[in-house]
Symmetry: C2
Subunit: 98 residues, 2 copies
DNA sequence: GACATGTGTAAATTATTGCTGACACATGTC
DNA sequence: GACATGTGTCAGCAATAATTTACACATGTC
């Protein structure tokens, strides 16, 4: 169970992905709808969400809509990272021990 | 006075820069020495430190050594960022209002 | 003067990322 | 069947980031 700080930081170091998290923080949503709301192409949203999911910042699930369409909903994970020099020092320490 | 979360995150989203911060957290140090300790080329360390300084995560100062050489020392700034969905939501809000 | 140390920068290369435009596959309605 | 919605993926291009090598300039010592 690696917390992989670098990975999380890399996932967050992008304006679009921050906007995605900000939007999802107000409630779960699905890919096409997010693309419309944030004015991004759907493949792009798909890719950003995958990147966020890989490091556990959001979680996705499949859901069937009333009219039978398979829709992919996402929620933010309740993460909380404290970013201080000391926290980074610890992260680097565990990072360097193979 | 912009806190520019994306900029800070981008600056931190790199293993070498995290190692630099971790090293500086144990005490101030200068460029050539850091390059030796972290096994990186000096221009690379120079560039990473500049990137960190731009967003205020480290601060640099010139200092004259005993034998008269101009040396560039760096210290970590005492930063503390709380990374939660809500904090990101706030950051994006202030980010979107031009 | 040659050699060690330190500083800075610029050019060129490589690797990575962000993004678009296709394509394929479903479902339900006119 | 044509059209709307939704899903996924892949190829390619453009922009950015990471890295090296080489140069310039200082200082002090052998």
């Amino acid at each position: 169970m690696s917390s992989d700080l670098v990975g999380v930081l890399a996932a967050l170091a992008n304006p679009q992905r921050l906007r995605l998290i900000a939007t999802l923080a107000s409630g779960s949503n699905y890919v096409s709808q997010l693309a419309r709301e944030l004015q991004l192409s759907r493949p792009l949203v798909h890719m950003h969400l995958r990147r966020l999911e890989e490091v556990g910042l959001v979680v996705g699930r499949m859901e069937l809509s009333a009219d039978g369409k398979a829709m992919r909903f996402f929620d933010v994970a309740p993460f909380a990272y404290q970013l201080t020099p000391e926290a980074i020092q610890d992260a680097v320490r565990t990072m360097e021990e193979k």
